[in-house]
Symmetry: D2
Subunit: 142 residues, 4 copies
């Protein structure tokens, strides 16, 4: 079973657009908030990872929008680590409206582990073990 | 042959993040700039479409990141209408660094046509004909 | 005594820039989050106000930056209604780092009350009374 | 006479909010675009300045909003260096709608020159001379 992380945000006025809904680019920012919170829940911060020379740039992002998030809605971002290879991480996300549990969007992001030189590297053991434990069992491969 | 639209933007300082590159959520905003420019090139504006009760909310977005866009880089967004059905539009995008022609990212977005009531509708003839002419021949279906 | 509203946010990665700090434009967004929270604390939401035809566009904004807010910092936005006239509201803000209580920025915003036609109007009694009670005594004028 | 820099942007859909206008935080980003363009016009880039250890963090920002900028409006940002001291720069901005020349907003920003250690420093001669030449004559002080 993978670790599931939940964090709730309130849609900001500045995030709305003139269609009267949260602009679709914000979901990508919310995914990141969820992903970072999952890392925090596993006991380490993304700052620390950057300082340790482990960066996780996004190489692919995908989002399917089901229903608009409205201004002032509280939205819960549910994040899990769906797949982990030596230098690839895949996270999955659900954005749910808190008030009625409606699924507003879902998506995923793929990350490659790079060092300070921006070249592909492997996660150091410290991160690898914690992340492996958090990943979906059947999806994790060393 | 589909109509291809090119527009060049300069990466803003506010768009960078502390990794020293344009944050990946900006590409989604740039796609939108490209898409709107393609519509303009076809002779109508998105404002007009909204006023005519033709909204094009994004139902799916995808981006693959190849190389980072850096602050002050001029990036060319190349947009084409890849597919068109009665109430579905699919656009494809390439983000290229102008100075050396390097492909930085590519992606696509899927849109459903909705009316003022946010219910699915069909494009009115005015838009349908212009878009059909702009779409990839083999991909367009009535 | 004016009503003071506090709300705590965490600086998002997407809010940082390549100087390694939260980009200064975000403080303006945080001010808005604080202002809306103050309204909520007074018992009404900004959505409701908009629906009642009471809009509060910003006519002036000012921010003095003392120390950078860093990624992942928890920052507390402290908002109070400093002045209120029949159709003008002035809010004041402080942005404080939660961990050490350091003042990172302070600012103010001035708003004019406009109706649906975007013309200057007066706050309806419902809002006026609640806001008067929340404003600094010496600063409130009918 | 101070050097005046003009650059024209088009308001992005993502920059609008549900009031149907460009959200007021974007003007702060546009000011930055204008400021950086002024530096470019003087023959050096902000990247170069950062690499030379000359950073210009914002210590104060102010904007007065006259009329809303609307989606798809072309807005001209007019920037000039209003004041220059050994380690303080003050820029002034006007945001004008291109189609009718209407002044939409005006503002200013104050910057302090800091080195790589984020401590206050003086501009090196290279930048100082170019900026002095660009500043308002009566406002420039060594």
């Amino acid at each position: 079973m993978s670790t599931l992380c939940e964090i709730t945000l309130r849609v900001r006025y500045a995030e709305t657009d003139q269609m009267g809904v949260a602009h679709h680019s914000n979901h990508i920012v919310w995914f990141e908030v969820g992903r970072i919170e999952l890392l925090r829940q596993l006991g380490f911060s993304y700052i620390e990872m950057e300082q340790d020379g482990m960066n996780l740039p996004v190489v692919e992002i995908r989002c399917r929008y089901k229903h608009p998030a409205l201004y002032d809605d509280e939205v819960t971002i549910r994040t899990r680590l769906a797949q982990m290879r030596s230098s690839i991480l895949r996270f999955q996300y659900e954005v749910e409206r808190k008030s009625d549990g409606r699924l507003l969007a879902e998506g995923e992001s793929v990350h490659v582990v790079v060092g300070r030189d921006m070249k592909k590297t492997r996660l150091s053991e410290k991160y690898r073990d914690a992340l492996l434990a958090a990943a979906d069992e059947d999806a994790a491969e060393s």
